[in-house]
């Protein structure tokens, strides 16, 4: 049966070109049809990460058209890689294939391997749209770098306290830079040395350090699991999977204690950090509690309509730190079947025995219908993407766009992670609430 998918919030696997762009001086080389990159960038990068040193409008691309479909496009790809290496001053080149090239069976592995001995590393990933979504593509890109680049380098010694950070997905998470930076800061505060490959000036230098980490820290419900598992296999690096991106005092405290314990950090060091932050954090909450408690424009109930990471992170914050009541949480990132049970379980682990129902759906039409028919006991809080804006207006509710497509706000380095992130999220939510008075 033909189904129309209304307002999907993920794109095809080739969307992982943004992951390559997220690596400083990383260059995506596309073997795809004209239009793929532009369309995908509009879908997820939008006004946050659509331009720069290298950007979807200028990615080297073989522009596969009818001729390449019929006769095969391998030579065209070889030409594209060769010229990209000549013209673009980058540190790592990642060849990504689109649907058309893979349908006709172009062997991108073979073509890319011709460039194995160039000065700059060239790796390839098969990211045809029909194979999966951009989050799976993101994992494939990282795995390709691990297998085709890192695993071929001489083994180096592990460095005590060095921790690779994984989780936030470049561009797809509009707060990716800020989120990664916050996670880095938190690790530094408890005396660890973070290593993240995405964002400003990290790039190849940090990629090279990946095998030396003492452990991998994955902060996400599912995206990245395949990567930390591969890293364990290739470099015997253990990993800590912390499913919830920590927002606010409750989760961040838990996060720091968990990471600290795993890394063997002195409990006192961790507790001192937590105490210092909580003092500051609760000062702000306290002095603003009137705003939170005494308004008639927001009921205590909310839904999130977003990817698994944000749905989990934000609902944990709103329930555990803030005492709101979760109605259904809608996960829109096309989460692979294999992870769904464990994700549902995370939503049964709130404080005070509170649980939230979860629906995995790619179809905004259905989600919106359900939200319309749900009783939030007053104006609800809906946190999602720009697609929820009209719906929330219709319900006279409160709205915040946090995941793609966002379109209405500019995010540079801000983040909802950590103590300051939690406060920031409250500012954003209640700015909307306060505007309702005007």
């Amino acid at each position: 049966m033909i189904k129309i998918l209304d307002q999907p919030r993920y794109v095809c696997a080739l969307g992982a070109m943004q992951t390559v762009q997220g690596i400083y001086r990383g260059v995506p080389v596309l073997h795809a049809g004209p239009g793929c990159a532009g369309k995908l960038a509009a879908g997820i990068a939008g006004n946050n990460g659509d331009s720069g040193y290298i950007s979807p409008q200028i990615y080297p691309c073989s522009n596969v058209t009818e001729k390449e479909i019929i006769f095969g496009g391998e030579e065209r790809l070889a030409e594209t890689i060769e010229n990209a290496l000549r013209v673009v001053d980058g540190d790592i080149f990642v060849v990504l294939s689109g649907c058309t090239a893979e349908i006709v069976g172009d062997d991108i592995a073979k073509v890319s391997s011709r460039f194995a001995n160039m000065e700059k590393p060239v790796v390839y990933v098969e990211t045809a749209g029909f194979k999966g979504n951009n989050l799976e593509g993101h994992e494939w890109v990282i795995n390709a770098i691990i297998e085709q680049y890192l695993a071929k380098k001489p083994v180096k010694e592990k460095v005590k306290g060095l921790v690779n950070i994984w989780g936030p997905v470049p561009s797809y998470d509009p707060f990716w830079v800020g989120n990664i930076r916050e996670l880095e800061k938190l690790l530094i505060e408890i005396g660890l040395t973070p290593n993240a490959i995405f964002g400003e000036y990290r790039g190849i230098e940090n990629i090279d350090k990946i095998p030396q980490a003492e452990f991998n820290l994955l902060v996400s419900p599912w995206v990245g699991l395949k990567n930390v598992k591969l890293l364990e296999e290739k470099f015997q690096t253990p990993y800590l999977h912390y499913p919830t991106l920590p927002i606010g005092a409750f989760e961040t405290g838990k996060f720091l204690r968990t990471v600290g314990k795993y890394a063997g950090v002195d409990v006192e060091v961790v507790e001192a950090v937590i105490e210092r932050h909580e003092k500051e954090y609760y000062y702000h909450i306290e002095r603003t509690s009137d705003v939170f408690l005494e308004n008639r424009t927001m009921s205590r109930r909310f839904s999130t309509v977003t990817n698994a990471t944000d749905a989990l992170a934000i609902s944990k914050f709103l329930v555990n730190d803030f005492g709101l009541v979760p109605e259904k949480q809608y996960i829109t990132d096309d989460t692979p079947e294999e992870y769904r049970d464990s994700i549902e379980k995370y939503f049964t682990e709130f404080e005070y025995g509170i649980e939230a129902k979860v629906t995995f759906s790619k179809d905004a039409y259905r989600i919106h219908e359900e939200i319309r028919n749900c009783d939030y006991f007053g104006p609800p809080l809906i946190i999602g993407s720009i697609f929820e804006k009209k719906l929330t207006k219709e319900l006279s509710g409160n709205f915040l766009a946090v995941s793609v497509p966002i379109k209405e706000r500019l995010i540079l380095h801000s983040s909802y992670v950590g103590y300051h992130g939690g406060l920031r999220l409250l500012e954003d939510i209640y700015t909307y609430v306060l505007k309702q008075f005007n």
Partner: protein, 292 residues
């Protein structure tokens, strides 16, 4: 000239079964009758029209397209025996690209340029590669290209299998204005059991045999001279058969939707025939029967 209806015919069948041989003889016979004919080879092998052109290959549509972005139809039409317009779609090198898409592109290119109308053709005959493996090879039976489809088949199980697959393709497109089946051209039918097998298959699938074409050394001799039988041995018995076949196709008006067998039915049907042949020739299974 303006309103003349061009009869477009597609001939399918398993590779090596005799499609090009039969098609070229049909084309040759039709031009001899005074018709204007184009033979359009839709097979990356690009040898459909060889016997119409003294055994010579011609540049294909796709070869030409490989060199430049636009192809004028006139660049890839080459006249052959009696003025038959010969075209070869061509295709990619084995193992690369997509031959199916190649066929689509070549056929569409001609359709767009309205070549058939300008040449004032009576017949366009598509000689299409083997099995209907993907959408590309189904393009001549899709809406707006051929109206009538014939399949060349012997009594060989593999040939019957390919014919049945074609019927499935026709069946699929039949509701959307696709081509319908004219019938089966039974090729290399010499042994009596071969005729029985083919007769039974057409009965099962609710179609008909248009002509029985025997396997003949005249065909081989003609081919060795780079000619059709019609050209090389116009007075032979085989040439008469090809002419009769060509006229039947020229006069053919009503094609039908066949009723293909499903895979299980087809296998059952084949094993029934295998048993029958065994019983028939106890201990003397010929190579032909052994593949049934």
């Amino acid at each position: 000239m303006a309103n003349k209806k061009i009869k477009q015919i597609a001939i399918y069948g398993k590779g090596g079964i005799g499609k090009s041989t039969t098609t070229s003889n049909i084309s040759a016979a039709l031009v001899k009758q005074g018709f204007k004919v184009m033979q359009f080879g839709c097979d990356p092998k690009s040898d459909s029209t060889n016997t119409l052109r003294g055994g010579k290959y011609i540049p294909t549509v796709l070869d030409t397209l490989r060199e430049k972005t636009t192809v004028k139809a006139s660049e890839v039409i080459h006249e052959g025996f009696g003025g038959v317009y010969c075209v070869e779609a061509g295709g990619p090198a084995p193992g690369v690209g997509c031959a199916g898409r190649g066929i689509i592109t070549a056929v569409q290119l001609f359709k767009q340029q309205r070549v058939f109308e300008e040449l004032d053709l009576d017949f366009v005959i598509y000689d299409v590669l083997g099995d209907v493996v993907c959408g590309g090879f189904a393009v001549p039976i899709r809406e707006g290209i051929a109206e009538h489809v014939f399949t060349v088949s012997s009594a060989d199980f593999m040939a019957v299998y390919a014919a049945n697959n074609l019927f499935r393709g026709i069946h699929k497109y039949s509701n959307a204005g696709g081509a319908l089946l004219g019938g089966v051209i039974a090729n290399s039918i010499n042994a009596p059991y071969a005729k029985e097998i083919i007769d039974d298959f057409v009965k099962q699938t609710k179609t008909q045999v248009v002509e029985y074409v025997p396997r003949s050394v005249t065909v081989t001799q003609s081919e060795l001279q780079g000619k059709t039988t019609i050209e090389a041995a116009p007075n032979s018995e085989q040439a008469k058969i090809y002419t009769r076949l060509a006229l039947k196709i020229a006069e053919h008006t009503e094609s039908k939707v066949p009723e293909p067998l499903d895979v299980h039915e087809l296998r059952e049907w084949a094993s029934k025939w295998a048993d029958h042949l065994l019983a028939l020739e106890t201990g003397e299974v010929t190579s032909k029967a052994s593949c049934i």
